[in-house]
Symmetry: C2
Subunit: 122 residues, 2 copies
DNA sequence: CAGGATCCCCCCCGATACTG
DNA sequence: CAGTATCGGGGGGGATCCTG
């Protein structure tokens, strides 16, 4: 326990050139991965439940439009968070689910989400 | 290991009404908390380093404008992720740092950020 | 059923200029 | 130094209509 690490010392100590850089920030990619209003909710419902069809996702994620859902699904498939299973036939049947990485991300974020419980209500 | 949990079984089993809901999705608030292009980078530099002054943040987070930085800082202060320390005087001196919750979030996200290493390069 | 196409809007952000 | 004010652009999103 060094008193030099105290808040007052840190704030008043002039010898603190900021050596850290945001250039190698690993959170930047994570941010782009999760960009979009609905991405986290897609990750959530697929992670909590099971693989779902397009229509089910529309139902479960209340308020999302078909266009945006398609966009998000395409993007998340592209980045490797989800897979897409297309069964030919009439009517068509398309199912989406989390990849291994997607599942990891869901689990991690779920744990992280509990942190917000410590914050005052909005 | 039950074969009923296999992918084929899940996908072809019709008895799967989606009972999960996105209504209680705890990731929604997390998403709003981290919304904005620069929020994660602010969290990153403050979490990796030490409390920084406004000008230092502008320098370290390359490319951010004063306006957006101010917006993000105000918002993150409002949500309780960072604190703001204003020292009167000429020139003025304003320092920002992570709160306890902000630090927790940074640490969690940092661990989570490593998951993206498993994804193919963009 | 699972989308594609189109139009519009709003919010986030960038740039510039100015101030206590 | 640490912001504020203002203008303008772009992309994500909503609503509606259409299709394989």
């Amino acid at each position: 326990m060094n008193s030099d690490t105290s808040l007052q010392s840190i704030l008043t100590n002039p010898a603190h050139p900021p050596e850290i850089s945001a250039k190698t920030c690993p959170l930047e990619r994570l941010g782009r991965l999760l960009r979009g209003t609905w991405t986290l909710q897609v990750l959530w419902v697929l992670g909590e439940g099971r693989p779902l069809r397009f229509g089910d996702l529309r139902t479960v994620i209340e308020g999302i439009s078909a266009k945006v859902l398609t966009e998000r699904l395409r993007f998340m498939e592209h980045t490797g968070l989800i897979w897409r299973c297309h069964e030919e036939g009439v009517p068509p049947k398309v199912t989406y689910g989390l990849t291994e990485v997607g599942t990891e991300l869901h689990d991690g974020l779920k744990r992280l989400g509990r942190i917000t419980d410590k914050l005052p209500p909005e």
